[in-house]
Amino acid sequence: MSPLKLTGFTLTRRRSAEMAVILVLLALLLVAPTFFARISVLFFILNWIVLAESFNMFAGLTGYVNFGHVVFYGVGGYVSALLMVNAHASPYVAVIAGGLASSLLALGISLPTTRLRGAYFAIATLSINEAFFVTFDSWDAVGSAPGLSLPISYYQPVVEYYVMVVVAIACVLSMYAISKSKFGIALQAIRQQEVTANSIGINAAYYKSLALVFSGFFAGLAGALAIWQITFIDPPSAFNVTITVTSISMAMLGGLGTVIGPVIGGALLYELTDLLGLSYPFIHLIILGVIIVGVVLVIPDGILGASRRVLTKVRGRR
C-alpha cells in the first residue's frame, strides 16, 4: 500500500490508525458528560495524567528527578483558591494564575538548583516539599492549618470537566511539541552527556530551567483545577508527598520520556490511587512502592517501551 502524502508528512497506515484511535478517544471525552453520570472520575483521571505528564516533562526529558513535584500542585492550588476566596476572581482567571504562579516558582527553584548535578539536584528538591508544608501550615494569611474553603457557587462540575479536558490536551500536545523541537533535542543531549552538551554551546542550566518552568506551569494548573473541583485546600492535602509518589509511578509505569506513557500510566493507576486509596488508605501506597521498584528492575522503559520491544521482536521473527 502506498503511503498517503498529506501536507508535508507521510501518513503511513500505522500512523493513520494511531490518529484514528486518538480522535475517537477525544470525541468520547467531549461527549462523555452527556451519558456518563460520574464525570468527576474522568476529571481526576485527566488531572492525574496532567500531573504525571508534567513530571515527565522535566524528569523524562532532562534525566533529573524532581522529588518536590507536588509543590507546584500545592502552590497552584493555593494561589487559585486565594484569588477565588479573597478576590472573588473568575475561576478561569484563578486557574491560569495558579499555573503562572507555579511556573514562576519553578523559575525561582531552578535558579540555584539547575547548577547542581544529578544526586545533588534530587536532594535539594526533596527538601522543598517539607519547607512549603511547614510555611503554609503556620501562615495565617493563607488559612494556615485549617485551610481554605471555596464558596459553593464556584462548583460547576461540567464546566470544570471541559476546562480539565482542554488543559490535559494542551499538556500532552506541549510534551509532544517539546520533544520534537530543537529545545527537546537540546534536553536530550543534556540527559545523555551534560558536559559534552555544555561544551558544544548548549546552555544546560537555561534549558533545564525552561523545562522546569513548563513542568511547573502544568502541575500548577492541575492543582488549581483540583481545588476548583474539591472546593477545599489545606496544607496536608496540597503538599502531600503521596501526590509526588503517584505522579512518579504513573510516569514510570507508562514510560518515562515518552509522550503517551504518562497518559497510559495515569489512566491505569487512577483506579488504584483514588478508589482503592479511599477504602484501603495504606495498601495503595504499598502497591505504588512495588510498582516503582518493579518498573525500575523489570521494565525501566515502562509499558510503552517494553511493548515496543516485544513488537519489534515479534515482527523480526516473521
Partner: protein
C-alpha cells in the same frame, strides 16, 4: 547559661546525626547510590526497639545488639535483591529505586502499625557540670555515636575490608585492578550503612516519639549533613552533623518555633549555592 547548654545539646545531637550521615556517605562513596530509604531504616530500627521493649522489656540500648545485626542483614538482602541491579544503571534509576524502597517501607509500617506515634519512657539521670545540665538520654546518644564513630574509624583504617571500602570510594577501577572485589565491598558497605541507620533508630527511641512516615525527616537531615560535609567524606559527615546540631539548637533560641523545621532546608540551600561540593570538598559528579 542557656546558650552554653544549647551548644552542648547541639553537639550531642550533632554527633548522633553525624553518625547517621556516615552510613549514607559510606554507601554513596562506594557505589554512587543515594539511599533515599536511609531514614526509613532508622524507623525500622526504632520500631524493632519499641516492640522489644514493650513485649520483652528489653532496654533500647541493649536492643542495639539486635537492631545492628538485623540492619546489617536487611541491608545485604536489599542490596543483593534490589540495589545491586541499578549500580551501573543511570543515576536516575537508583534514585527512583531507593525512593520506591522508601515508599514501600513506610507504607508497610503504616499498614501494620497504624500512623500512631510510639514512644518509650526510659530516662537516665541528667549530667551536671560547669553549670551546664545535659539530659542523660542525650548523653547516652552522644556516647553511642562516639563509640560507633571510633569503631568505624578502626575498621576503615586497620582492617582489610575497611581499607577496601576506602579504596573503592577513592577509585573503583584501580581498586578492581588491585584485586579488590567491588561487588563484595558494595554489599558490605550497604550492610554497614543500614546497620548504622537501624541502630541509630534504637537510640532515637530514647529521645523522641517515632511514626511510620517519619523516615523522610531523618533522610533529609542526613542529606543536609552529607551535603554540608561533602558527599563521600566520612570526616565531613561527622563535622557536618555537629555544625547542623549546634546551629539547629542555638537557632531555636532566636527563631519562632514554627521556623525551626525550615532551618535545615535554609542551611542546605545556602551551602548548595555557595559551595555545591560541601565543606570537605569531595567532588560532585
Amino acid at each position: 547559661m542557656l546558650l552554653a547548654e544549647l551548644v552542648v545539646l547541639g553537639l550531642a545531637y550533632g554527633l548522633l546525626f553525624g553518625v547517621l550521615a556516615l552510613g549514607l556517605t559510606l554507601i554513596w562513596g562506594v557505589m554512587k547510590v543515594v539511599n533515599i530509604a536511609h531514614g526509613d531504616f532508622v524507623i525500622v530500627g526504632a520500631y524493632s526497639s519499641y516492640w522489644l521493649f514493650v513485649l520483652a522489656g528489653v532496654h533500647p540500648i541493649l536492643s542495639i545488639l539486635f537492631t545492628a545485626p538485623f540492619g546489617f542483614g536487611l541491608g545485604i538482602i536489599v542490596y543483593l535483591g534490589l540495589v545491586r541491579r541499578v549500580v551501573h544503571a543511570p543515576e536516575l534509576m537508583s534514585l527512583f529505586l531507593t525512593f520506591g524502597i522508601s515508599t514501600l517501607i513506610s507504607s508497610l509500617l503504616l499498614y501494620i502499625y497504624s500512623p500512631n506515634q510510639r514512644a518509650i519512657s526510659v530516662t537516665f539521670p541528667s549530667i551536671n557540670g560547669l553549670g551546664v545540665v545535659l539530659p542523660g538520654n542525650v548523653a547516652i546518644a552522644a556516647a553511642y555515636a562516639v563509640v560507633v564513630a571510633t569503631l568505624l574509624r578502626i575498621f576503615l583504617t586497620k582492617t582489610y575490608w575497611g581499607k577496601a571500602i576506602r579504596a573503592v570510594t577513592e577509585d573503583s577501577s584501580s581498586a578492581l585492578l588491585m584485586g579488590i572485589n567491588p561487588e563484595a565491598v558494595s554489599m558490605l558497605a550497604f550492610g554497614i550503612g543500614v546497620a548504622i541507620a537501624s541502630s541509630v533508630g534504637s537510640v532515637v527511641m530514647l529521645l523522641q516519639a517515632v511514626y511510620p512516615t517519619g523516615g523522610s525527616e531523618f533522610t533529609l537531615l542526613a542529606f543536609v549533613i552529607v551535603v554540608l560535609g561533602g558527599l563521600g567524606s566520612p570526616f565531613g559527615a561527622l563535622l557536618g552533623g555537629i555544625v547542623i546540631g549546634v546551629v539547629d539548637n542555638v537557632a531555636s533560641l532566636y527563631l519562632p518555633a514554627a521556623a525551626t523545621p525550615a532551618i535545615g532546608f535554609i542551611i542546605l540551600v545556602i551551602v548548595l549555592i555557595v559551595r555545591p561540593s560541601g565543606i570537605m570538598g569531595a567532588k560532585g559528579r
